[in-house]
């Protein structure tokens, strides 16, 4: 055990944790909107729209995240046309490519979570809203969405933790996040166990915080059915 290395690498790893957290929060933020959008499309009665949303979530949940990042980072740069558009400013940065890939990925999972939450809302609640003369817009925003969010909290908490682990793949496209820096230290010092313990503890600490935050939210906003 090289305690000195562990102490020395700790500030470097902690610095890299900031990038991990940035990646996580941005991709969750965009992913939530994508997920909500596709969940609504999934509930549509139009078969074409419905199938489209289903294919999206099937493809993104059926392929590894690594493939998705590589397609976006290495693959899209190959299209000459894209290079001349405004999009290229975003797509040439590995940072934004990673965020796009993560957001699309977590969006697919989130849409599944929200869809099942929407489907388990008791029809009586919507009927009650209708009989009170509320417009369908108000029923959607004031009844369906709040209930769906509450119901999907535990599953969404799991998704956040999965996404936290997913951000480690950013290190494959040259980003120096927590895993990237850990790998760099391992490959220069050849002390994998020590670095693993430090980096692993940071990850575990973050999972622990997320887990407890979700538990707290569940308690606060949860309701007995």
């Amino acid at each position: 055990m090289d305690i000195e290395l562990m102490i020395n690498s700790f500030p470097k790893l902690l610095n890299a944790t900031l990038i991990t957290l940035k990646l996580l929060s941005l991709s969750l933020f965009f992913g939530l909107f994508i997920g909500l959008g596709f969940a609504i499309l999934r509930l549509s009665k139009n078969t074409f729209i419905n199938k489209f949303a289903y294919c999206y979530s099937y493809i993104f949940r059926g392929t590894p995240l690594l493939v998705q990042i590589f397609i976006i980072y290495f693959g899209l740069g190959q299209i000459e046309y894209l290079r001349s558009t405004v999009l290229w400013i975003v797509l040439k940065e590995p940072y934004w490519c990673a965020i796009i890939a993560f957001a699309l990925n977590t969006g697919a999972y989130t849409s599944e979570i929200l869809r099942s939450a929407f489907q388990t809302i008791k029809p009586g609640l919507i009927e009650a809203g209708k009989s009170l003369g509320l417009s369908s817009k108000i029923i959607f925003y004031k009844i369906q969405i709040p209930i769906a969010i509450r119901q999907s909290l535990p599953a969404y908490g799991n998704e956040i933790i999965l996404m936290l682990k997913g951000t480690s793949l950013a290190s494959t496209v040259t980003l120096m996040d927590l895993t990237g820096v850990a790998k760099y230290i391992i490959s220069t010092t050849f002390k994998p166990i020590e670095v693993f313990i430090v980096a692993g503890s940071i990850y575990l600490f973050m999972t622990f915080l997320i887990h407890n935050l979700i538990k707290f939210l569940e308690k606060k906003y949860g309701f007995q059915t």
Partner: protein, 230 residues
């Protein structure tokens, strides 16, 4: 399409073998995972706090740490650990372990943590009366497990195990960082030499989709088989 032809000019045969490699690693990892689950599930269900702690420690740490970090630990630390053990027996030469073994072991440990949780949940959801009834009938402990508990457990565990299989299959793409030539690595090589990453990575995505689709079909059949009578 020329790029995918079999033979010396195309990448078809290479990608075909790479797909077989992905399958081989996934199956090996899944089996190693079952082995770990076999050890850790009883620990998690044990009455003793110490054993409980060991079981919980394993599943929490592995499920809370990114897969890539675990793979790096095994990739960089694997041969060191083996050499350390060998040095105790007086063998000091450099030992390099095969990327297939390190890879499937790393993924196996990860998949084992998920399998452990699945088995624990399945055993816990079996009615207590089943244990008591078989005890009253004087059935021996191991017979009780294999003839009474296991068949009921499998029915409950198979849907969740199919999720674990999907996770394991997708995790094998991460072994490409160690240089094992599976789908991802082969696409990387092909993309590098043809300068056509978009095509090859998309094709890799299609291969993964095909694998997950076919395995889901197979598992659904198993599910029907084991839920007969319910």
């Amino acid at each position: 399409m020329e790029l995918l032809s079999f033979g010396k000019t195309g990448w078809g045969d290479e990608l075909f073998y790479a797909t077989l490699m992905t399958l081989a690693v996934s199956i090996t990892a899944m089996l190693i995972g079952f082995f770990f689950a076999l050890i850790f599930t009883p620990l998690k269900l044990s009455k003793y706090k110490v054993l409980n702690f060991i079981g919980n420690f394993y599943t929490t740490v592995i499920r809370g740490v990114p897969e890539l970090l675990v793979i790096y630990l095994f990739f960089f630390g694997g041969s060191g650990a083996i050499m350390f053990v060998a040095s105790m027996f007086g063998y000091y030469e450099y030992i390099e372990i095969n990327a297939f073994i390190t890879g499937s072991f790393a993924i196996g440990i990860i998949s084992g943590a998920y399998s452990t949780e699945v088995f624990r949940g399945a055993i816990q959801s079996i009615d207590k009366g089943q244990f008591e009834a078989s005890k009253v009938l004087g059935i021996k402990k191991h017979v009780q497990f294999f003839k009474v508990i296991l068949p009921q457990m499998l029915r409950l565990a198979i849907p969740n195990l199919s999720n674990v299989w999907q996770i394991t299959l997708k995790d094998t793409s991460l072994i490409s960082v160690t240089g094992l030539v599976e789908i991802m690595r082969q696409s990387y090589i092909a993309a590098g030499s043809t300068r056509d990453p978009l095509f090859f990575y998309s094709f890799a995505a299609v291969l993964y989709l095909l694998l997950t689709y076919l395995s889901m079909k197979l598992i659904n059949r198993l599910e029907i088989k084991y839920s007969r009578g319910f």
